[in-house]
């Protein structure tokens, strides 16, 4: 008796998870995939083969590309569980899953964590107001509900996704009230030294240019180098204000969509006890992994953006590499076969990765810009301000985890997903160190909501 319920459990059905599952299954591994959504695709290819949109081409070619990946996944011999969330995982490989409201615990011989990314929190005064949403939320509403803003929205922040959303809204026939671009002026020039390597992935550059050209052609008011963004309103958002080119601006709007890049989702890997490292180029944490995506925990792999931001195409390829190595570890592949298959995948992945140094630099925010003004809520859940965290750091508080104990920041329902990066930056600056030295929040289950009733029901039903 092996004592395992799964040979390979893949967590997440985005590009990395789908690829890992298909690759391992192709070599004879029994694969189970759990995913929180109703359909495979992850956030990037969400609902791509089950779209409510009359024409998914509205969202662009990169989205449509995902359809063949999802369809290939659906036809592969994989035990796929939609609407299933992982709420518990520890370093011994013990798991807790809630599927359609029913809990069960299990053990897996190999695990591929492919939880993707989340948007980097973009705190500013009023970012918690009703009517402020993320750009990703705007995309999800298009992909899952064919819904767009009823009135011309204001978009604010920086990063490719913000421009993509603007471009998609324009294609849907919407007007954009304003694009409030918070990337500091001049920062883009420093990216030019990465241009030679970026040219190897010229399609990314071309696509970026297309977005910018379309937004300019639509005469969207584009406020570059904007600063001091602030949202006003009582029961809901009424207006935003910001400074740009030495002038103060105020725009009345019921809807503001914000974005400043994406960071890996590290909750699951942290819970599994995988070692993490600070990536200074991407200003985020990610798990340390080897060439195949295996983490510091033997048999636990991390594929796709959860292991570092590299985009959907690279995620698909890193999932394949993890799938090959899982098959090798389970004795379904000889090393020589594995290496032969991996060669082409590695070459293709290297091409997609060649754009990253340029993009990381082009959209890099100065560390100071990651620390909002004092009155800003750092932690939305427990309503802890930036000033409170700064005062703690100045008073000698040892770091983010002790700050939790003093203020409850990071202890609300989002479990630090929307304040962790801010709190780390505040501690790093106040103590003149780096996030690497400051450290990050410890993660504890439940990773996703589960009721005591759901757990108890399972225990009682044990045969």
């Amino acid at each position: 008796m092996s004592g395992f319920d799964y040979q390979l459990l893949v967590i997440g059905a985005g590009p990395a998870g789908m690829a890992a599952a298909q690759t391992a299954a192709r070599h004879g591994v029994e694969v189970t995939v759990i995913d929180e959504q109703a359909n495979p695709g992850g956030q990037i290819y969400r609902n791509v083969d089950a779209s409510p949109l009359a024409d998914i081409g509205l969202l662009g070619k990169d989205y449509v590309f995902g359809r063949q990946l999802v369809q290939g996944f659906r036809h592969a011999p994989i035990d796929y569980h939609a609407n299933s969330a992982l709420w518990y995982l520890d370093s011994s490989g013990e798991l807790g899953i809630v599927e359609e409201g029913v809990h069960h615990s299990a053990r897996a011989q190999s695990i591929v964590i492919a939880c993707g990314a989340q948007e980097r929190p973009m705190p500013f005064p009023g970012w918690d107001k009703a009517g402020v949403m993320t750009a990703g939320a705007g995309q999800i509403l298009m992909k899952s509900a064919a819904m767009v803003p009823a009135q011309a929205p204001v978009l604010a922040g920086s990063g490719p996704l913000l421009l993509l959303l603007a471009w998609q809204y324009l294609r849907a026939g919407l007007k954009i009230r304003a694009l409030v671009d918070t990337s500091p002026r001049g920062v883009h020039w420093s990216a030019l030294r990465h241009m030679p390597s970026a040219l190897a992935a010229g399609d990314y550059l071309f696509k970026g240019l297309q977005l910018v050209t379309a937004i300019k052609r639509a005469r969207v008011p584009w406020y570059r180098g904007a600063d001091n963004l602030c949202a006003e309103g009582d029961e809901r958002l009424a207006a935003i204000s910001f400074d740009c080119s030495g002038k103060k601006h105020r725009i009345e709007t019921p809807l503001l969509m914000v974005h400043q890049g994406v960071i890996p989702s590290t909750q699951v890997t942290a819970a599994a006890g995988c070692e993490t490292e600070w990536n200074e180029a991407q200003q985020c944490w990610h798990p340390s992994v080897d060439d195949w995506g295996e983490s510091s925990q033997p048999g636990i792999f991390v594929a796709g953006d959860a292991a570092g931001i590299a985009g959907a195409r690279a995620a698909w390829l890193s999932g394949q590499l993890a799938g090959l190595q899982v098959a090798r570890q389970l004795r379904r592949l000889e090393p020589v076969q594995r290496d032969r298959l991996a060669l082409r995948i590695r070459n293709a992945r290297a091409r997609h990765l060649s754009i990253r140094p340029f993009l990381d630099r082009y959209y890099r925010l100065p560390d100071a810009a990651l620390i909002p003004r004092d009155e800003t809520l750092a932690c939305r859940c427990e309503e802890v301000t930036v000033a409170e965290i700064r005062a703690l750091a100045a008073a000698g508080c040892s770091g983010p985890n002790q700050a939790k104990a003093f203020t409850r920041c990071g202890m609300g329902p989002c479990q630090g997903r929307f304040c962790g990066s801010t709190v780390e930056q505040i501690f790093a600056r106040e103590t003149a160190t780096s996030p690497q030295q400051v450290g990050c929040y410890n993660v504890r289950p439940p990773l996703k909501p589960v009721t005591l009733g759901q757990i108890a029901k399972k225990e009682n039903q044990n045969e």
């Binding site: 929180e36 109703a38 956030q43 409510p52 949109l53 009359a54 989340q118 948007e119 918690d128 107001k129 009703a130 009517g131 402020v132 949403m133 993320t134 990703g136 939320a137 999800i140 509403l141 298009m142 899952s144 509900a145 064919a146 819904m147 767009v148 803003p149 009823a150 009135q151 849907a172 009582d234 029961e235 809901r236 019921p254 809807l255 989702s265 939305r380 859940c381 427990e382 309503e383 609300g412 329902p413 989002c414 997903r417 929307f418 996703k448 909501p449």
Partner: protein, 98 residues
């Protein structure tokens, strides 16, 4: 606050704060509430601040509503069902008990 790109989508009847309303079928509860433009969805437990859907992917917990008697359900993670009873988690001063 949000509209459908195709207004011919099938509709279902649900109950919101005691009143029957029609919303598009096959969308999340949070999407339906944005379609109805009934912000905020709740007042925070700490200061009573007004909150509404933020991330739409199940990680910010801002869109919590009461669904069929169960409080604190993530509206963005659940689909609308005919006859579903929704209640916004508003502070009493805002007329939640109406």
């Amino acid at each position: 606050m949000f509209k459908l790109l195709d207004s011919s989508a099938r509709q279902v009847l649900i109950e919101l704060d005691g009143a029957e309303v029609s919303v598009p079928a096959d969308i999340s509860v949070a999407a339906a509430l944005l379609y109805l433009d009934c912000l905020p969805l709740r007042h925070s437990a700490i200061s009573g601040a007004a909150r509404a859907p933020f991330c739409m992917m199940g990680i910010c917990f801002e869109c919590l509503v009461e669904i069929d008697g169960d409080r604190d359900q993530r509206a963005c993670q659940l689909m609308v069902r005919p006859g579903m009873r929704l209640r916004r988690q508003l502070a009493p001063a805002q007329g939640a008990g109406a």
